[in-house]
């Protein structure tokens, strides 16, 4: 499992209302949700983002509502991984449950600038800033959670247990 892409950078307390405003929660269409992703604070994001890109932010990423539409919108917009200093807890479990990679790494959050080319090795937790020729070590997932991400999320891991 790896990720490789351009960094999109935001600050502290990026909340779920700016990731996907509630007025769009009348749809479950991943594509439609993605088209409004981050628009409250960055109207250009959805035009700039490319498949595989990486989002980098500060403290408490994903605070606010429990809407799973938030990680869904980011994933559908093309984001392969979110790196933050830390995450709000419901966003953290939602991302894991839908099989989206997220990493807590204050050094990477400080070191990576918008537009940097970044590679992530999920097995080792090593984040490489190709543009700046730096590496950062993220906290590895506990085995319980890593297992769930590898299987593709909570539902897939449940089906696996049943089989």
């Amino acid at each position: 499992m790896n990720a490789h892409g351009i960094a999109h950078k935001y600050g502290d307390h990026v909340d779920t209302d700016v990731i996907i405003p509630a007025r769009y929660l009348n749809t479950q269409s991943h594509k439609e949700l993605a088209s409004h992703c981050m628009e409250e604070i960055d109207k250009e994001f959805i035009h700039k983002v490319k498949d595989g890109d990486i989002m980098v932010a500060g403290l408490n990423f994903g605070c606010g509502s429990s809407r799973e539409h938030a990680p869904i919108a980011l994933k559908a917009a093309g984001i392969s991984c979110v790196i933050a200093k830390n995450f709000a807890r419901i966003f953290y479990r939602n991302a894991i449950n839908i099989g989206m990679a997220i990493l807590e790494c204050p050094a990477a959050s400080d070191g990576i600038s918008a537009g940097d080319e970044v590679a992530v090795d999920f097995d080792s937790g090593v984040i490489t800033n190709i543009t700046k020729n730096e590496t950062y070590q993220a906290e590895p997932f506990p085995p319980f959670i890593k297992n769930m991400i590898v299987k593709g999320g909570l539902m897939a891991s449940l089906k696996d247990k049943e089989a």
């Binding site: 307390h13 909340d15 700016v18 408490n60 606010g64 429990s66 799973e68 449950n97």
Partner: protein
Amino acid sequence: MGMTMTQKILAAHAGLPEVRSGQLIQSKLDLIMGNDITTPVAINEFEAAGFDRVFDKSKIALVMDHFVPNKDIKAATQCKQCRAFARRFDIDHYYDVGTMGIEHALLPEKGLVAPGEAVIGADSHTCTYGALGSFSTGVGSTDIGAAMATGELWFKVPSAIKVNLTGKLRPYVSGKDVILTLIGMIGVDGARYQSLEFTGPGVAALTIYDRLTICNMAIEAGAKNGIFPVDDITRAYVEGRVDRPWTTYEADADAEYERTIDLDLSQVDCTVAWPHLPENAHSAREGKDIAIDQIVIGSCTNGQLADMAAAAEVLKGRHLAKDVRGIIIPATEHVYRECMRLGYTDIFLDAGCVVSTPTCGPCLGGYMGILAEGERCVSTTNRNFVGRMGHAKSEVYLASPAVAAASGIAGHISHPEEVVNK
């Protein structure tokens, strides 16, 4: 080392003699809740995984409250999907227009949550029910999809902050002011991943509605849950509503806490959180220069009968300032009916307000009170993030019902004393 109240409830539901903070556990659940915007995503996951039964149709509550009565065709389609799912599995607690209320006011009112129970909901404010001495927390749609099939869910056992309450609230000061003050002290991530365990002699001076409001906004400090001990006030509320046996848990005397915060209730004043984070706490007395366009009184945070009474007390015999719109939303059908019986509805209408059927609508910028660019609202809701109630350049000021009512009358942010003693 002993366990916190939250840890004791989790240990009991995981079938373990004890749990430690940081431990990953699988917990049995007493109730699983979803609403009209989170349940459709859960149903999709449930069906895609191939489940063909729910674990217990009496332990699932589906409440259509966010965008109902349906705000548009897409919202109607989502409710239709929830309704079909509820019928397919004969879900006992399905609430639609006519029986619904705002979920976190409705579930306690209907006796669906009892002390000592473990409850999840696909809504971040599910932490409200900690007011009754239960463990309750917000999760995602996939979580409830899985839990509806299995009756269980994974949790990381939280550590806790002990909030030691002393003293007694002054007139016009309420649970809303307590929680806004606390979030102002510790920040929107001050209790991230932790429990907020309220304790101390001040607990007995807080009504059940103060406690519900305080626990409701535990998430706004990043907390996994907020929880109050079970006392006579809890028992008085629960008796006559809950008809099944329930268990009282108490924190061990030697329970471990990350830290203790002392809060003297007599020192709390009417508090307003300025945009764009709930931690931006100010005294309501600082708002004279902040002219407003709208007030909203309602929501899962402050839509109970006690909140309506607080608003009515200030609005009685007075009228909203020119060009201020007042939207009042009793949280449940019961609260709505009581507002009529007690004359509150007349007071609200005489003051120039409108009174809506229960809905979450304006709180999250769905409908029923959206703000235009540059507009300001004093709202008894729970979030004031960028764009929360409408345009990205509108502003939401979070406050209690008494402060919202006073601000509506004054035309600017105002302390109730400034309006009532005028």
